[in-house]
Structure formats: C-alpha cells, structure tokens
Amino acid sequence: MALMTNIQAIAHTLEQQMKKDEKIVTFGEDVGFEGGVFRATKGLQERFGEERCFDTPLAEAGIIGSAVGMAINGLKPIPEIQFSGFMLPGFNQIAGHVGRMRNRSRGRYHLPMVIRMPYGGGIRALEHHSESQEVLFAHLPGIKVVIPSTPYDTKGLLTAAIKDPDPVIFMEPKRIYRAFKQDVPEEEYTIPIGKAKIVQEGTDLTIVAWGAMVREVQKAVKTLEEEGISVELIDLRTISPIDKETIINSVQKTGRFLVVHEAIKSYGPGAELISIVNEGAFLYLEAPPTRLTGFDVIVPLPKGEHHYIIEPKRIAYEARKLIKY
C-alpha cells in the first residue's frame, strides 16, 4: 500500500503495466522528456526508453491516427491528449476510425488502445481547458468511456482499460489530480469497466455523479444527512457502457433520482440517465428524475466560472426540492 494522488496512481499504473507488457507504448505532446504537462508519464521515458515513451509533434490527428496503425500492427498504444479540449483535431480519427475499425474489418482488426486525457473545470484555466465532453465520445459506437474519481479507482480502472481489447477513452478529472491522497495497493488489480460503484447506501434519494463531482456530492450529502435525508450515492465510473442495473435498482428503492454533472445540460449525459430511469423505474418514482448540470454555455473564463461550477449547496438545494416534491 502507498498513499497516492490521482496523478501518482496514473504514473504508477502505467509503469506497472509497461513493465509487464512490452507492447505498451505511451506518447503525445510533451509526454516523453517532460513526463507530460501534468507529469502523469514522468519517469517512463527514463525507465523504458524513447521507443516506448516519446514526444510527438503537435498534432492530435497524428497522435490518434498513428495509434490506430500501431494497435493494428501489434502494439498497445496509450496516447495522451494534453487537454480534452484539444482532442477535437483528433476527434476525426476517433469518430472516423477508432470506434469503427473492429466492425468495419468484420472483427479482423481490433484496437486495444487507451486514450488518456485530462478534462473538466474548476481550475481557473484558460479557454478550451475546462470542457467536459464525455458525451461526444459516449455517442460513438465501438468505444468505452471511463472516468475515475479516486486514486484507488484510477489504478483499477486504468489497469482494466489497458487490458481491454477495445478502445477506451480514459478521462481524468484534472481538478482532483492532486486534491487528496488515498491508499493504493502495490499489486495489480482491476475494477470492471461498465460497473458503477455505490459510494454509500441510502433510502430517500439516488444521486449519480462521476469525476470531480463525486466529491462535491459527498459534501452535499453530509448536509442532507444532518437534515435527516438519506442519500444513495452512485459513482458512475463508466460513461459508456452505462451500468443500468445499479441505477435502476437504486431508484426502485429510493423513488427519487438526481444526476449531477459538469457537462452541458442539453443532450448531455443526464438526459441519457433519466431515460434509463424512466424506462426501468417509472412506476417507483415519487418525483420527476432531475439533472443538475452545467449551463448550455461555453465554460466561462475564470472570473465567471463560479457561475458555472456546481457547488455542494446547489446540489443540496436540488435534492431538497425532490424530497419535497
């Protein structure tokens, strides 16, 4: 066991897996020599050499497209996109090829790759550094989308993603890269992709969140508990495919549903989750399933970002409305 932050858990997992599997290569802008702008790949080049951990020219389509070729030709690429806001030039490759290669080659080729990228707001960043675009990927068939919220989960989920024979987009909530530490076992373990985690059980209301929002919800839950409201908190962990069963079972028990996400509201992940709840637990509902999300606006620059970011107080406010409904 060792106490680790999220970013340390990533570096540790990459190192452990690269040691075990020499087909793994990791690369991207500033990834090799510098160890990534957030230092997630720090030390990997020194340890494994420039052939397995390297810098690329500044071109996301080049990074993802070459990963496709590498994956077809026997390697296990783990490209890093510097900020998820900059994956759009590479999106052409992700949507046009990464998600389709297995199907369009009738199973002949598959892409065992993990595309890592930091995402999300709350760090007073520049433009294009705060977006939460998980749905852009989740909308693509053939791809899995994973978002961890703790160091322990980061290791287990990243290990599972690396072992997964299909392409996985691994989105890292950068706001909590270094926010706290947790005990992480040294030995290898996996957490199954596609399974949500019940962070805590409760009886009055189900709240689903992921990434940095999980901690915000936890803060709200404390307040709600003091008011006698019992919340069942679920960390979704995987955005695609969604663990319907855990959510439906929970809502059947609590009768109320709130999803909290940083992403934009319209056509956002919350809409999908509410659909699932409606389909699977309609007759159990005591209030309309609700979403608390980012607004349909471009994430504001830092001096306006406080309007956009969801605080625990607002989560508690929405939760109370559902209880009183």
């Binding site: 500033d30 020219p57 433009e127 294009h128 309007h307």
Partner: protein, 363 residues
C-alpha cells in the same frame, strides 16, 4: 525580390537579416524605407510590450494574475510584421501576440482583462479588425485564408496577417491553410513565430525540414526565413509580402526565427527542458536593444528619452493592471448573453432557474 534572394532552399543567405545583433546595419541596400516617426512608434510598442509582459509575469507570481503566456523576446517578430500592414488589414493571432495586439489597437486594459479571466477583454474597438485569441493550435490559419477568400470575392482591398507557432506547423490545418491560400490565391501573410520551443518540444523534434519557411514551396507559394529578432528584417519581408497580396499575387509564408525568453505559460517550468546557456545566448540577440541602438545611431532616440519612456510605461501598466484587478467577478448575464443574437428559451430558463436559486439561497 527578397523571397528570391533569400530562397529558403538555398543554403547561402538562407535567413534575411538587416540589423545584426549589435544593432548595426548588415546591408544598406536592404534597409526598408520606414518614416522616422513610424520607426519610433514601432520601438515604443515593443517597449510597452516588453514592460507589460514582464509585469504580467510578476503579477502572476504575486498571485494577482491568472495563467499568462509570456512573449518576451518576440517583440520584433510581432511589431515588425504588423507595422507592415494597414489599419484596414486583418490580424489573426494565435495566443502569444501581445506586442502585435498593442500595435494593432487591442488595448492593454482589455488584453490584461482577457488574461485575467474576464471575457470582456475580448471586446475589440470597432475599427480594429482583429480575431479573438485562438487557443486550439493551428486552427486559426484557415480563418485567415477564408477572410482573404471573402476579400477576393467581394473585391475588397484587404490583407490578412496571421500568426502561428513552430509547433502549430505540425498541425494538419497549417497545411490545409497553405494549400487553400495557394489554390485560391488569397491575400494572406502567414508569420510563423519560430520561438524554438513548443512547450518542452524543440523545433528540431517538430519537423525534419531544415527551415519552416521552405514548407511554402510544397504549396507553390513564396516563403522566406528572417531573423525574427531583427525588426527591420521582419518588416521588410512582411512589407513585400503585403504588397504582393495587395497586388493580387497571393499568399506568403514568413518564418521569423526568434526566441521565447520566458516560460511557455506561467504554469510551465522551462528549466526542466532547456539550458540556461541557451537562454543567455538568445538574450544577447535581444530585439529591443538592437533596435534601440539603431534608433540612437540614427539620432531618433536617446538614452534619456528611453528612461523617461520606460517610467511612463511602468506607470501606465501599473495603473492599467490596478484597474483590471478592481474589475472583480463577471456578472451572471455576461456568461449567457453572447451565445446567440436572441437567447433561446431553454437557455433563458436555465438562467432564470439559477437566478431563482441565488435569490432563495443567497450566493
């Protein structure tokens, strides 16, 4: 023609330089014809740019400014190029063009507001044709081409000056823009500020080409490499390119060889990837001291004037920053108002719900 004389594919004379690093003229014949008052105003912008840049970094270190992208050392590449265009021409920036912005007419107050994290910074004066900062690398160049296509189609007399970094030349869109500009013969001048680094990546790892200027050749357009710390060289090359563009002779690619003396941004630690000696070596090629010496030799400027000007700018920059610092947080309406001409109902609803929450819960 400079682009012929300094053909980037010819080994000899590859780079155009007019002022050497001591500030002496290398070749009188090459000196561009710039009126005295314009020379002085170019120097003044470079000086203001330098001071505003240095101070932004200090403010950030004091925890008073947010993330900032320094451009110390790149003043000549920016002012030399923008000064060769007219007020009626377009400026398409990347994100590190402080001196170019100031020379074009984006006010320091607004530039600071922008880096301070306030959208209001991106309000440009009506008569200043400048596009907002483009953070996604390389994506702005196609806009520059489109602006030029529209000028051609509508018979407008406009030139478009666009900037990109050395890292940006790796992007697909850089190549698309060069190709389009050639095919549609647009009045576009693309200036690559080759400041040697793209965060931790040296230019030598960004491309196997010996120069970035030579990439123009593949697209059938003229290209030239210039000493980017020599304001006269940058001006001369850009002036010629602008003239070609105005005459309907199409685009030009200019590689300004310069150096980013500061960190990539205030979140970056350049000591990890570059050597002190390299920084020192480039400090000796400082564009400001070279130009200053040239102006003093010409009798257009003096040490005393310089002292006074610095003092004046120091004051101005301090005052401007204080004002920006006092601007506080952005009002709620500001983050909703500018997405559409008329706010769609679902957005209005989100805005109103949030306001109700603030009223009920207090913020």
């Amino acid at each position: 023609m400079l682009t012929k004389q300094f053909d980037p594919l010819k080994k000899k004379n590859r780079m155009l330089q007019i002022l050497d690093k001591e500030g002496n003229i290398v070749d009188e014949k090459l000196v561009p014809n710039i009126p005295d008052d314009q020379l002085v105003s170019m120097y003044k912008t470079m000086l203001l740019g330098r001071i505003a840049d240095t101070k932004a970094l200090q403010y950030q270190r004091q925890g008073r400014m947010l993330t900032y992208a320094p451009n110390k050392g790149q003043e000549a590449a920016q002012v030399g190029s923008v000064a060769a265009t007219e007020q009626s021409d377009w400026l398409v920036p990347a994100f590190r063009e402080l001196s170019a912005w100031l020379h074009k007419g984006w006010t320091l107050e607004n530039v600071y507001l922008y880096w301070y994290g306030n959208e209001r910074g991106s309000e440009f004066p009506e008569d200043v044709k400048i596009l907002p900062v483009s953070v996604p690398i390389g994506s702005q160049l196609n806009h520059a081409v489109g602006l030029g296509m529209a000028s051609n189609i509508q018979g407008k007399d406009e030139v478009v000056l666009a900037y990109v970094g050395d890292g940006g030349t790796s992007h697909g869109e850089f190549h698309e823009a060069l190709n389009f500009s050639g095919v549609f013969n647009t009045p576009t001048v693309i200036v690559i500020q080759n400041n040697q680094w793209a965060i931790s990546m040296p230019t030598t790892k960004q491309t196997k080409s010996q120069t970035l200027a030579q990439k123009a050749k593949a697209y059938g357009i003229p290209g030239i490499q210039v000493d980017g710390n020599d304001v006269l060289a940058v001006y001369a090359a850009t002036k010629e390119a602008v003239k070609r563009a105005r005459n309907g002779e199409g685009p030009t690619l200019i590689e300004a060889v310069t150096y980013r003396l500061g960190p990539h941004t205030t979140s970056d630690d350049p000591t990890i990837y570059r050597k002190d000696e390299e920084v020192e070596e480039w400090s000796l090629k400082d564009p400001l001291t070279r130009f200053q010496k040239y102006l003093i030799d010409k009798g257009l400027w003096s040490k005393e004037q310089d002292e006074n000007q610095r003092e004046e700018y120091n004051d101005f920059v301090n005052k401007t920053f204080k004002k920006v610092e006092g601007s506080g947080l952005v009002p709620l309406e500001d983050i909703f108002d500018y997405h559409y001409e008329e706010m769609p109902s679902q957005l209005k609803e989100q805005y109103e719900n949030y306001k109700r929450y603030l009223e009920e819960e207090g913020s």
